[in-house]
């Protein structure tokens, strides 16, 4: 009873206070109703006038997209005027009729017409919708002159992206294109801006990587508009902030030269500074014209790109994966030295190497005779490396390959980087569920089998050989928004001097000693000599029967089955500064199809005084004794 009595006082207190709260609620609603009466009855005329005659509207202004320039400030991507015709649907009585009238002046395809009608449906009635863009000056003038007849059509000058070098830089620059629903959903900021008609964002390459930096900050314009939505005057304007300029490490002269040398082929090439990692040229051929992507491709244009056997949409220097072939022999040589093998020790090459019941062939049918490591690199003897590979084992080879940057990505500034593949027994067991065979170790010794590398990785491999064994990484950006990016200081790979020396001396011999596989592609000018290594990566299997009847020459095969031609090199040989890799897909032999191209590009690089950031590691001559 007592508890219930206490509960009673509690209940009474509650009831009093609840009633008070109820009264507060009632009073608040009276205030709200009163305020509504004030606004909607007493002040209605005033606000109606404001609404009808003097409406303030805020419009977003798209910022100017930042330029992309090469290391000397040459413009690689900028903006140019885009003459266009917009339509404000609330200003026209009959959209279809207006479009008909406009189509007498400029062509509007059925496809475009459907797109326009869809856009009109989707946007608010006062919002301009793009009807046509990329107009010539003549067309634009005609639209302007006929404006009085074209109610609702507004001529307008916007900005569009311009790539003066077109396909030469397509795979680096990427392109910009209209914002898709997916982009919209993924965007964390700037959604309003992205809804602006004609706004474009980076979809590939540098345009995508630095989209945020290049995009800038939207401005706004506060305008007074009349009841028909026509702007009466601008009240305030915030121009926003244009996007930042991105400076690439590229040297456009070298890029152009390399492109010209490789166009027509299906190929990839990378030139980089061995100390800083600055990429001076980055070619993937064939390519597409990013300017066309701006305005959207027609179906035929798109099909032509997709169906092209040479795959112009694939960035071969970054995402093309090829067996490294003989260019991998330096890695095996270095692994052998580190494993304690004496480089002077000779292996006799009779033209083939037997393992169990299987024969592995050297590219030279009659054999090379007795070879030491230096000679084996110079003549690219396969048998020597079969033997060495078997002795040191696949794990030692794989470990060294990883040190040289194979089988990994570097966080390169262009999206789509591929890691390639450095196989190990563990990898094979995990992915294929099969044990590793010793024959697979043997062919890995000459860069065949499961091994896969990209041209970018081969350039990095060569740079790390040439710079004295430092883990340099490639980079494409020198500065953003006027701020120079710091040049990273690469860590040492921890390799012995001997391992690097035997690889570098071998490469020197390849191109500068008579009999070397690239002797014909040497640079004779003193001080500009290059040290290189040829590679010919087999694409198809050669059967035993074929061996007996005679192996078909590349020229006799369909293009798809021909060998890939590879060449890696660095120069100048006594004070290395640049590394270069070239891959010509199905080009035939490395010495014939890749080495001359590489030689020409490297000579071009050396003949230019590249403004190089200070070396981060001391240059090291590979054969110091011959210096001076």
């Amino acid at each position: 009873m007592q508890i219930s009595g206490r509960d009673n006082t509690r209940y009474q207190a509650f009831t009093r206070r609840a009633a008070l709260l109820g009264a507060i609620q009632g009073a608040a609603f009276v205030v709200l109703a009163g305020r509504m009466y004030y606004l909607q009855v007493l002040k209605s005329d005033q606000y109606t006038m404001l609404a009808e005659e003097n409406r303030v509207s805020m419009r977003l202004l798209a910022p100017l997209r930042g330029n992309v320039v090469d290391r000397y400030g040459r413009i690689l991507a900028s903006n140019r005027q885009n003459f266009r015709a917009m339509m404000i649907s609330e200003q026209t009585a009959d959209i279809e009729a207006t479009l008909d009238r406009l189509s007498r002046i400029i062509e509007i395809s059925d496809f475009a017409r459907r797109r326009i009608l869809r856009d009109v449906q989707r946007s608010p009635r006062f919002m301009p919708v793009t009807v046509a863009e990329g107009l010539t000056w003549d067309q634009f003038a005609k639209v302007n002159i006929n404006e009085p007849d074209l109610a609702g059509i507004v001529p307008d000058v916007g900005e569009t992206r311009d790539y003066p070098y077109g396909e030469e830089l397509a795979h680096i620059m990427g392109y910009v294109a209209a914002v898709s629903e997916k982009d919209m959903a993924e965007a964390e900021t700037d959604r309003q801006l992205m809804r602006l008609p004609g706004f474009r964002i980076g979809k590939e390459g540098i345009e995508k990587t630095y989209d945020k930096e290049l995009r800038g900050t939207a401005g706004s314009s506060h305008v007074e508009v009349n009841a028909y939505g026509r702007v009466i005057r601008e009240l305030a304007k915030d121009p926003g902030k244009p996007g930042q300029e991105v400076v690439l490490t590229l040297d456009m002269d070298i890029q152009r030269f390399a492109w010209d040398r490789l166009k027509g082929e299906s190929a990839g090439a990378v030139v980089m500074d061995i100390h800083s990692g600055d990429v001076l040229a980055f070619v993937s051929a064939p390519a597409y014209d990013p300017n066309q992507f701006n305005m959207g491709l027609s179906n035929e244009q798109w099909r032509a790109l997709v169906d092209n056997e040479y795959k112009p949409l694939v960035n071969k220097a970054l995402a093309g994966m090829y067996p490294p072939g003989s260019t991998f022999k330096m890695v095996v040589a270095a692994a052998a030295i580190e494993a304690g093998i004496n480089p002077a020790q000779r292996v006799v090459c009779p033209g083939h190497y037997s393992l169990g019941s299987h024969d592995f062939h050297c590219w030279k049918k009659g054999g090379h005779g007795a070879m030491n490591m230096h000679q084996a690199i110079k003549y690219s003897c396969d048998v020597f490396f079969y033997d060495v590979a078997r002795r040191i084992g696949i794990n030692a080879i794989a470990e060294m390959a990883r040190k040289f940057g194979l089988g990994e990505t570097y966080g390169f500034e262009v999206p789509g980087e591929k890691a390639g593949l450095v196989p190990t027994p563990d990898w094979k067991r995990a992915t294929r569920g099969e044990p590793w065979h010793q024959g697979e170790t043997v062919i890995a010794g000459i860069g065949q089998g499961y091994l896969l590398t990209t041209p970018l990785q081969l350039a990095v491999m060569t740079a790390r050989l040439a710079n004295g064994g430092y883990a340099v990484k490639p980079r494409l950006t020198r500065a953003i928004g006027g701020q120079l990016l710091p040049t990273p200081r690469p860590a040492s790979l921890g390799l012995g001097e001997a391992a690097l020396k035997v690889a570098c001396d071998g490469m020197n011999a390849v191109s500068n000693e008579p009999g070397g596989t690239a002797f014909r592609s040497r640079i004779p000018e003193p001080g500009m000599e290059l040290a290189g290594k040829t590679g010919t990566a087999q694409v198809r299997r050669i059967s035993r029967a074929e061996r007996l009847t005679g192996v078909l020459k590349n020229e006799q095969l369909p293009w798809r089955q021909r060998d890939h031609a590879l060449f890696v090199c660095y120069a100048p040989v006594h004070a290395p500064r640049y590394a270069l890799s070239v891959i010509v897909e199905h080009g035939g032999s490395g010495s014939a199809a890749a080495a001359p191209v590489a030689r020409d590009i490297m000579r071009e690089v050396l003949s230019r005084n590249v403004d190089r950031p200070q070396a981060v590691v001391p240059p090291r001559g590979s054969t110091g004794a011959r210096e001076g």
Partner: protein, 382 residues
């Protein structure tokens, strides 16, 4: 008194509950929500997508939640009060942690299949936990200082987390609904006077810690004309649209201010403005009247209830709902500064709608179980 004899001493069956359930109240909610659908349809210029359709689906889900919550025994809700509060608090902490790792929006928790806003859930569970706590105290005990430690901690923990997000509007709502429960539980007046004085003293300190945009909102509220194109833009445009609506409005889907995009966020926080422009004073008053009926009903539920937990819970739900309606409408009319508070049942938004429907489900459970006596001691149900 008849009810009393009918139910005391035996448990309610589901059929009893369905009879006791106030179907008129549910109809009232459907009516209010339908006004919201209509406005969302209008905002999308006569289209069910993207807003009206999804909002209707959510409301349907909300009705299910309400029915289930109403059928569950009030004593079970009381037993669940602390655990549910704990879950909501854990989710708020999770938002902080996940937010740290760069998820972008820090108010949201992504559960994969659904995104939820834990601060909305906390608004309900806080009421439950406080009601549960004060249920166990007599009137004399409520005002003892040591008995205030737990409720203040219950309020302070989520408020602190929400302030970190930062979401000042929600923090204020949490404090307000907590204070209301303390008040309804019978806490002495002097505590309120004292804390009021403390708040006044703290104003200068808090002011220094506000974000610039928050300071701007206050400045702008004090003088909207001061920055007509910046932060004052919302209020000014909202007032113009309301005023231009007049007594009977410009007609459904004819609101030029809203349709021409002068009005920002018109499908969420400023949806009342759009209603005021298109349906005028008449439409606005109808909606306010519907809201008022909901409030009076829930107040009545609180007064009729025979157990303290139900009484406190009902008044908590009632007052929280009231705060939403009042803050939102007063904001769009220029009576309060712009804070991000949606208009209940009408503004577009997921978690807010569902947690509100859950709260109404609890209210209905209180109504159904109004004659159930629950003893004060904890032993009865643990």
């Amino acid at each position: 008194m008849l009810d009393l004899r009918r139910f005391t001493g035996r448990e309610l069956r589901l059929t009893d509950k369905l009879v006791e359930f106030n179907w008129g109240f549910l109809l009232l909610l459907v009516l209010i929500a339908s006004i919201g659908f209509a406005m969302l349809y209008s905002v999308a210029e006569g289209s069910f997508s993207p807003w009206a359709y999804r909002q209707a689906l959510r409301f349907a889900a909300g009705v299910c939640i309400l029915l289930i919550a109403a059928m569950i025994d009030l004593r079970l809700w009381m037993r669940l009060a602390y655990p549910l509060y704990g879950v909501a608090l854990a989710m708020l902490v999770a938002v902080e942690v996940v937010g740290m790792t760069g998820m972008g929006a820090q108010r949201w928790l992504n559960l994969g299949f659904v995104q939820i806003q834990p601060s909305e859930i906390m608004k309900v569970t806080l009421l439950m936990a406080l009601a549960r706590y004060f249920h166990g105290l007599t009137l004399d005990e409520v005002s003892r200082l040591r008995n205030l430690v737990i409720p203040v901690a219950l309020i302070a923990a989520p408020v602190g987390l929400v302030v970190l997000q930062p979401d000042l509007g929600t923090a204020i709502l949490l404090i307000a609904s907590g204070a209301i429960l303390l008040f309804a539980a019978g806490l002495r007046w002097r505590y309120f006077i004292l804390s009021g004085a403390l708040v006044l003293a703290a104003v200068p300190v808090v002011w220094g810690r506000l974000h610039d945009y928050q300071k701007n909102r206050v400045f702008t509220f004090l003088d909207p004309e001061r920055d007509p194109l910046g932060t004052g833009y919302h209020i000014l445009q909202s007032k113009i649209a309301l005023g231009a609506g007049g007594v009977f409005g410009k007609g459904f889907m004819e609101g030029t201010q809203s349709q021409l995009n002068f009005l920002p966020e018109k499908h969420t926080d400023f949806i009342f403005t759009m209603l005021g422009e298109e349906l005028g004073l008449a439409g606005g008053l109808v909606l306010l009247a519907l809201y008022f009926i909901v409030l009076m009903f829930s107040l009545n539920v609180a007064m009729q209830c025979r157990n303290q937990f139900g009484r406190l819970l009902a008044i908590g739900v009632s007052m929280t709902f009231f705060l939403y309606v009042f803050i939102n409408t007063a904001m769009v009319m220029g009576l309060l500064p712009v804070v991000g508070v949606p208009l209940p049942l009408v503004s577009y938004g997921g978690t807010a709608m569902l947690s509100l429907m859950f709260a109404f489900g609890l209210l209905m459970s209180v109504h159904i179980h109004r004659n159930v006596e629950i003893s004060r001691g904890p032993s009865a149900f643990w």
